[in-house]
């Protein structure tokens, strides 16, 4: 099993709205803490350390300033 990077959510807009909605009214510190808990939950759900490793690499790489 490798990391799924193609579209895998039926209704992406609804999922995105649910994510934003969960942060409504939170302070910055509370939002950061919510994100941390969410990542731990999803990481456990994935279960596969290789997939988690790929996800970490993608998140790191996409945070770098695009060249040009």
């Amino acid at each position: 099993m490798s990391l799924v990077t193609r579209r895998n959510l039926n209704d992406q807009d609804a999922a995105y709205a649910a994510l934003i909605g969960a942060h409504k009214g939170l302070s910055e510190a509370e939002s950061i803490a919510l994100n941390a808990r969410l990542i731990l939950i999803l990481m456990n759900h994935i279960g596969d350390p290789a997939v988690i490793g790929e996800a970490l690499a993608l998140a790191t790489a996409s945070g770098a300033r695009p060249a040009g």
Binding site: T5, R6, R7, N8, D13, A17, L26, S62, G63
Partner: protein, 518 residues
């Protein structure tokens, strides 16, 4: 050559000299929605009076993106061909982050539809065509420079007070359609208020005239170099007119930003030169709001008077035309005594549902374009950053989800598993080529049984259209079945479908629709 505004003459209405006989329907507002409503009623043989406080078509391009469904509706009332002939046809949208394309969409990926996915055409052209059609109809009494100053409900109708350049008069009407726009004076006169969200965001909207060879595509930029940190949209219109929308942010001064000396340098940065003419401009804020109910006894709200959404989804004008679609046949049936007034509640149910879907989509796009500081902005920026690295993030980039007609929730409508989802009850009947014609043109505006791959049941007291199974008809109507019976409403919405049915079951469902029970 830009549009040449020709004022319509004021003609003294008969009501100024003597009371007029009661009118079945008075429509307030001769914009695209009011005019389309009048023509739709005329299609069903119902007369109307249309009042407008002005005497020219829309000043500025305003609504420019007409969806496939709107074009089908406009076609049914006689102006579809003119709109397509004059308009800029497009179906591809491209979204950029900085200078990189991150997402594109194709709105009409299959052939075999009479109408294109979208046509860009200035609202003034659409109104121009609609006015000509209304004046030729013989059933529409179009009155310019007639400003409504009061509306009141009577026991079995409504009374409208009107001011003209030559004095005041009163009209009695069975029904009044308030098609008087987002700032609806009638809404205010009746003390009704919008509910919903007003976003703290401002956009500059400008039309420029220039010679250019931009392709016929919608282009949207997040954080472009030419408009630091904000968003921008470019749309092509006929007559070498381009629509440019620029996000300004809430901290800007709208009066200051609406000055040409502020606007022109901004646009020079977008197009890369100063060789253009500023044709029209305006500043707007985002709002997603609607009336709780669109039907108030004998006064019915249609279009922007009933609901407003943020732009970038083309859901304002197109949503209004879908209101007209859902209302016209029902109101005509009520006025002619063929249906009880209760069926108008179905208009309210269906169009508040449609409006909520438009508001939901529009609110999400607005939040993506104009995220609140904190988590909303982190996730927006993360989506944009991921978009050039991972496929899944591209369609998450939300620069507007363009108008498609909603599927009405027709609970309990007969349905068949295995038939295509696109033609399920509540959806607009999909178009298909039919010999030299088109299915939607053949269906027209009457309650019809569409029989596919079989004859209609004998002794059916209903208009019947029988069609052969072509590849398009199979894909859009049959799925894994080889025959079907579709009951299609006058607004071309699929009301029910069966694989086989007795005449009695079909007419019973049609009767339930006319009685407002389905």
């Amino acid at each position: 050559m830009p549009y040449d505004y020709k004022p319509f003459p004021f003609v003294a209405p008969p009501g100024l000299t003597a009371p007029e006989p009661r009118h079945a329907v008075v429509i307030v507002g001769a914009g695209p929605i009011g005019l389309a409503a009048a023509l739709e009623l005329a299609n069903h043989g119902v007369r109307s009076v249309v009042l407008d406080d002005n005497n020219v078509v829309s000043v500025g391009s305003r609504a420019i993106c007409w969806s496939k469904r709107s074009l089908e509706i406009l076609d049914r009332i006689g102006v579809g061909a003119a709109c397509v002939a004059k308009g800029v046809i497009w179906k591809v949208g491209r979204t950029y982050h900085r200078d990189r394309e991150v997402f594109n969409f194709d709105l009409l990926p299959e052939p075999g539809h009479k109408m294109p996915a979208f046509v860009n055409l200035q609202q003034y052209y659409v109104e121009d065509y609609l006015v000509a059609e209304a004046q030729a109809s013989g059933l529409i009494d179009l009155r310019f420079k007639n400003r409504v100053t009061g509306v009141s409900q009577t026991a079995d109708g409504a009374r409208v007070e009107i001011e003209t350049p030559e004095g005041f008069y009163t009209l009695e009407a069975g029904y009044v359609l308030a098609c008087d726009g987002a700032k609806s004076p009638i809404r205010a006169m009746m003390g009704l208020e919008f509910q919903g969200v007003l976003f703290e965001e401002r956009f500059l909207i400008a039309d420029i005239e220039m010679e250019a060879d931009f392709p016929s595509e919608r282009r949207f930029w997040f954080e472009p170099e030419f408009h630091q940190g904000q968003s921008a949209l470019l749309h092509k219109q006929p007559d070498n007119i381009y629509r440019i929308d620029l996000q300004l942010g809430w901290g800007t001064d709208p009066a200051e930003e609406n000055k040409p000396e502020r606007i022109i340098p901004r646009i020079e940065k977008v197009v890369g030169h100063g060789n253009f003419k500023l044709d029209w401009h305006s500043i707007y804020t985002f709002q997603c709001r609607r009336l709780e109910s669109f039907v108030h006894d004998r006064v019915i709200f249609v279009g922007d008077s009933a609901h407003v959404v943020s732009p970038f989804g083309a859901r304002g004008g197109n949503g209004g035309l879908q209101d007209v679609d859902a209302l016209g046949w029902r109101l005509a049936a009520v006025v002619t005594g063929e249906a009880p007034g209760a069926i108008l509640q179905r208009y309210d149910l269906e169009r508040t549902h449609g409006s909520d879907e438009n508001i939901l989509n529009s609110s999400r796009s607005t939040r993506f374009m104009s995220p609140a500081e904190g988590a909303e902005r982190w996730f927006r920026d993360a989506t944009l950053a991921l978009a050039s690295h991972a496929e899944f993030a591209r369609p998450m980039v939300n620069s507007g989800r363009l108008s498609v007609p909603c599927v009405y929730p027709l609970s309990g409508a007969p349905d068949v598993a295995g038939m295509p989802s696109a033609s399920r009850p509540g959806a607009v009947a999909p178009d298909a080529p039919l010999g030299g014609d088109w299915l939607l043109s053949v269906l027209g505006g009457e309650m019809t049984l569409l029989a596919i791959g079989q004859p209609a049941p004998a002794r059916l007291a209903l208009r019947v259209v029988e069609v052969e199974v072509t590849p398009e008809v199979k894909a859009r109507y049959l799925g894994d079945r080889d025959r079907a019976l579709y009951l299609i409403r006058p607004d071309q919405i699929v009301a029910a479908r069966w694989e086989r049915a007795e005449a009695g079951a079909i007419t019973a469902h049609a009767a339930a629709i006319w009685e407002g029970r389905a």
